[in-house]
């Protein structure tokens, strides 16, 4: 049991070790909705504060880094794989090659009535860009 707890504690830490929290917070704070968005951070090891309005899970508009599925809420997951699999997630934040990867799916944002400032356009992918087959078709 202890091992499981240790693994459960260390793994998220390892996954997010080196994550550029400032960059994450700044990007999330630029997601616009009909009202001021509130966030629930399921991973307490990532200290998202300051610009973001953090609330409880029940009142949050967007749930961050949760391993569970929240059908009624927009979620931001912690891996590219989860982003592809979980159509309810609007984006993913994770580390790859030492770099903080922040990805949002345009169609999913639109469906939730959310948008992101144009200056973050490099972080926005289209749904088809998550699909390998579609990508292969686009290859020269």
């Amino acid at each position: 049991m202890k091992k499981i707890i240790t693994i459960l504690t260390i793994v998220p830490l390892m996954v997010f070790a080196g994550l550029n929290v400032g960059k994450v917070t700044n990007t999330l704070s630029h997601i616009k909705g009909k009202k001021t968005l509130s966030f629930f951070n399921a991973n307490t090891h990532i200290p998202l504060e300051g610009k973001l309005k953090l609330t409880s899970l029940s009142t949050a508009d967007i749930v961050l880094f949760s391993s569970k599925k929240h059908k009624s809420k927009s979620t931001i997951v912690n891996s590219y794989k989860k982003l592809k699999e979980n159509k309810n997630s609007i984006g993913a934040i994770y580390l790859k090659k030492g770099r903080t990867q922040i990805i949002f799916v345009k169609e999913r944002l639109d469906a939730k009535g959310l948008s992101l400032s144009p200056k973050f356009k490099k972080h926005i992918l289209h749904e088809w860009q998550l699909d390998p087959l579609a990508l292969v078709k686009g290859l020269k």
Partner: protein
């Protein structure tokens, strides 16, 4: 004002400050360019560092990319090929390389194609958001490799981007991330260290500059009279060796009868007069000349030989003399005229020291004073008379100065009361008496030096011989001289055996003298008026002084037994003194008849050949009876 003068007179500091400002500006410019410089330097070094990897990867990529087969299609569709290619690329991995992967680009977005990383392996077609999109785009468009410093990604030092070009188009990018290595660490440290060192160096230069200016300014303040900006004696003493006197004609100037100004109008007004005189002199001088306030009213003029010939010098000094002579000094609503005497040495080139030069100028100055003042005299080595004064100076400053002692005895029982110390100068076998030298020294700083020497000589005698009591002669000018008063104050423990005899002169300021007498009496000194009746003294002035003894002048005493007027005068003085508790001393007593008359007047003490001549200390009765 002093500071402005300082910088005006020391232009070198202007230049130093300007130089420092330029240096500071250069530093700021350099500092501004330091970051680009650092990047450039890093790029050069990084290109050097990646050269080996660059060459090898070029070869690998060449083998991987085939002209007729789409690189992207073949790799995304053929897992085996992808595996082979990843294997090929992974040969490049080393401890310096953190990750090595290939991404392709579609509509400005990047996706993984190949990844050599086993731990943090990216999936095929997984999106990749580069931290520096701009550089990635540049490589795609430019088709040229690029190395950039990794500022955003922790643990990475730099990244090499190599375009994979097929059919003239960039189809993918090979990304090689380098870990933080010694090269970049060293580069970071060295550039930062360089800037810190530069700051430190500039701070040190500034502190050093400030120290030099501050020190020089302090010296300047010490060396200069703040009101006239002329050099003072301290400057000369401290720069004796540095002043190249051979480049100058040297003149010593002295305001005639200046003591009278001081005595009559006070020192404050005296100082104002000195400032006015300095300004008159300075007006005529060039920048290359030097004006030094040698002592209170004595000035040393160093006139640059480069600026004037002898004829022009003579004219200049005469002009100065005439300027001062014509000037009217307004002192307390009184119009006062002054004159100045000068002594000049033209041929300074043959002299060994500045002291010798001043000595000779002073000898010439003496000549001016001796010949009626308000004159400029030039030192002429052929005249032995002028050298006499020089010799006199040497004698005063050497051990040739001695005192002879004449006893002052009770007229009643002839017991010794004290000795009067009488100045003598032993010049070989000759003994020089004070009346031969004092007129020559009048109004000169040598006179004060002489008095100091006499006091010191007798203080030493009193310390040596505890039974001895001595009286010394001081002029009224000596009594108002702070240096003399200070010596007497320092030796107040001898006050009960050291009596002060005051010599009269015509410029005596009774108020000041009385003030000094009061000070001396507080120390315990007894005061005696010497040679009373010889000159300008009168009973009215006498009443103003708190004296203990009055010595009647010998010229009256020696006439007492055959001149009725002398007889009456002495009798009147004696009566007056008796009524005012002043003891009377008679001098020049040469016979018993005189003693008898004096005793009848109530005169208590006497001196003269009748009792004893003045003798050297060695010949005195050591019991002092």
């Amino acid at each position: 004002m002093n500071k402005i003068n300082f910088f005006n007179n020391n232009r070198i500091y202007f230049y130093v400050i300007i130089a420092y400002a330029i240096l500071f500006y250069l530093f700021l410019s350099t500092y501004k360019d330091l970051i680009p410089f650092e990047d450039k330097a890093k790029h050069i070094l990084l290109n050097e560092a990646i050269s080996l990897v660059d060459d090898t990867t070029s070869n690998i990529l060449e083998s991987m990319v085939k002209e007729d087969v789409s690189f992207l299609h073949s790799n995304s569709n053929d897992e085996e090929l992808r595996f082979e290619n990843e294997k090929l690329l992974s040969m490049m991995n080393s401890t310096d390389i953190n990750s090595l992967f290939v991404v392709y680009v579609i509509k400005g977005k990047y996706f993984f194609l190949l990844d050599t990383d086993t731990k943090d392996h990216a999936d095929l077609h997984q999106a990749f958001i580069p931290e520096n999109n701009k550089v990635f785009s540049q490589v795609v468009k430019g088709k040229k490799k690029k190395v950039f410093i990794q500022n955003e990604v922790k643990d990475l030092s730099f990244t090499l981007l190599k375009p994979i070009v097929q059919n003239g188009e960039t189809v993918a990018l090979l990304v090689i991330d380098y870990t933080e290595n010694r090269l970049t660490s060293l580069l970071n440290i060295s550039v930062k260290a360089l800037s810190y060192l530069l700051i430190l160096f500039l701070a040190f230069v500034f502190a050093f500059l400030f120290y030099i200016i501050y020190t020089h300014y302090n010296k300047y303040k010490i060396y200069r009279n703040p009101q006239t900006n002329t050099f003072n004696r301290i400057y000369m003493i401290e720069n004796y060796e540095k002043i190249d006197f051979k480049k100058y004609y040297v003149a010593l100037a002295d305001i005639d009868f200046f003591k009278r100004i001081n005595n009559r109008y006070g020192q404050k007004n005296g100082d104002k007069v000195i400032i006015a005189v300095i300004k008159i002199i300075a007006r005529r001088l060039e920048k290359c000349d030097k004006l030094i306030q040698y002592s209170g009213e004595e000035f040393l003029l160093l006139i640059a030989k480069d600026a004037r010939n002898e004829y022009e010098l003579r004219k200049l000094l005469d002009d100065i003399r005439i300027d001062i002579n014509r000037a009217i000094f307004d002192i307390e609503n009184e119009k006062v005229s002054l004159s100045i005497s000068m002594g000049v040495l033209l041929n300074t080139g043959i002299e060994k020291s500045l002291q010798d030069v001043i000595h000779k100028a002073d000898t010439a100055l003496y000549e001016s004073k001796h010949n009626g003042r308000d004159k400029v005299s030039y030192f002429d080595i052929s005249q032995p008379k002028k050298l006499y004064r020089e010799k006199l100076k040497d004698m005063i400053e050497s051990d040739k100065l001695v005192c002879y002692y004449q006893p002052i005895r009770s007229l009643e029982d002839k017991t010794l009361h004290h000795y009067e110390a009488l100045l003598r100068i032993e010049d070989g076998d000759n003994i020089i008496f004070p009346d031969k030298i004092l007129p020559d020294l009048e109004d000169s700083y040598l006179y004060t030096n002489l008095t100091k020497r006499v006091i010191e000589y007798n203080v030493a005698k009193l310390k040596e011989d505890k039974k001895m009591r001595i009286s010394i002669n001081l002029s009224a000018d000596d009594l108002v001289n702070d240096a003399i008063l200070s010596i007497l104050a320092q030796n107040a423990d001898l006050a009960d055996r050291l009596l002060i005899e005051i010599l009269e002169n015509k410029s005596i300021d009774y108020k000041k003298v009385e003030l000094s007498i009061q000070k001396l009496k507080l120390f315990g000194y007894k005061i005696c008026i010497d040679d009373f009746g010889s000159g300008y003294s009168n009973l009215n002035h006498l009443l103003k002084l708190s004296i203990d003894y009055l010595k009647i002048d010998g010229s009256i005493i020696k006439e007492i037994h055959h001149d009725k007027r002398a007889y009456s005068i002495v009798k009147t003085f004696a009566t007056f003194c008796k009524q005012n508790d002043i003891e009377v001393i008679a001098e020049f007593i040469d016979k018993q008849d005189v003693v008898d008359i004096l005793k009848s007047f109530g005169v208590k003490y006497g001196q003269g050949w009748y009792f004893s001549k003045a003798q050297p200390y060695e010949d005195l009765d050591k019991d002092h009876k």
